[in-house]
Amino acid sequence: MTGTVLTVTSGKGGVGKTTAIANIGVALAAKGQKVICVDGDIGLRNLDVVMGLENRIVYDLVDVIEGRCRLRQAMIHDKRLPELYLIPAAQTRDKTAISPSDMARLCNDLRTECDWVLIDSPAGIERGFHNAIAGADKIIVITNPEISAVRDADRVIGLVEAEEREAPQLIINRLNPAMVKRGDMLSVDDVLDLLAIKLIGLVPEDENVIVASNRGAPLTLDAKSKAGKAFHNIARRLLGDEVPFDELDTPGLLQRLLGRK
C-alpha cells in the first residue's frame, strides 16, 4: 500500500484538531479505508480519550521511534470499524523526544501499512508542529470563525508555504449560522477572503461533539448529527468526490413539517 499522510494543524489550541482527526478517521474507515491515526501531541495526549481507546494503550509513538516495540505493536485497533487504528502519544515525555526526521521516517513506514495516516498536530508553531508536518503529503489547517483562530491559521499557512509544500486546505469548524446571519460571526466567505486557501470542510457548531467525546465515541460513528455529516463530507472530498458545501443549509419550516431533510 502507498497511503497518504495527512496532518491537521491550527496554530491556536482548542479549535478542534483532535475532534477532526478522530472523526475524519472514523469516516474514512467507514468507507472501507485502512486508517492509522497518530497523536502527535507528545506530553498532552488526548486523541486516545476522544476515540475512547485510553484503556488499551501499551506502547506509544516514542516507543516506536526509540525502537522499544514494533510499529504494529503500538497500533491499537478500534474494534468498532474493521480497519481503524490509533498510535497514541507518549504522555510522560515532551516534544523534543522526537525530531522532524524521526517523524518523516515513521511516516514512510506507516504509508506502506494503510491508505491514510492522519496526524494530530499539537497547538503552536514550535518543534511539535514541525514534527507533525515533517512527513505529511497533505496538510489541513483547521480554524474557527473567530479573530484569534483566523490570525493563527494565517501564520501556520505562511509557515507551510515557506517550506514550499503543497498549499494547505481549510476546515472552518464551529460555525454558528444564526450568529453569521445577524452579523456577529465571520462568515465562510469572510474567512476564505482573509486566508485565501481552498476549503475542504465546513463544520457547524454542534453540542453532540461534546457528548461524543464524553462517551469516547466519535460522532461520525452515527451520521445523524450535523457535525457528523460534515465530517463524512470531508472524508468524501478527501477521496476525490465532488461534494457541495451545503453543511449550513437549514431545512425550511415546510420541509421540516413534511419530515424532509
Binding site: E146, I147, R151, I157, R182, L186, L194, I197
Partner: protein
C-alpha cells in the same frame, strides 16, 4: 445586540473583526510594522529625489494583497518640469 446596533447605525461585530484581521494579517505576513513602512517610505523618497523631483508630501505607499501574495505599491507623484522651471 444586533437590533440595537441597527438602531444606532453601528457596524456589525463580524465586519469589524474582518477589517481588523485584514490589517493585522498584512503586517503578520510581511513582518513589516507600520513604523518600518514609514521608514521605508522616507528612504524611498530620498532615493527617488536624487533623480527626479517628486511631491514628497503626496507619496503614498501601501501593502496590498491578491490571494496570498503581497505587493508593495507606491504612488509617487512627480513634479512636472514645466512647473519647476516657472518657480
Amino acid at each position: 445586540m444586533s437590533f440595537i446596533d441597527d438602531l444606532l447605525g453601528r457596524k456589525k461585530s463580524a465586519s469589524s473583526a474582518k477589517e481588523r484581521l485584514q490589517f493585522v494579517l498584512i503586517h503578520d505576513r510581511t513582518d513589516l510594522t507600520p513604523a518600518e513602512l514609514e521608514r521605508l517610505k522616507d528612504d524611498l523618497i530620498e532615493a527617488i529625489s536624487r533623480h527626479v523631483e517628486i511631491d514628497s508630501a503626496a507619496v503614498n505607499i501601501a501593502v496590498t494583497q491578491e490571494g496570498r501574495s503581497q505587493r508593495l505599491v507606491a504612488d509617487i507623484p512627480l513634479r512636472s518640469a514645466g512647473r519647476h522651471h516657472r518657480r
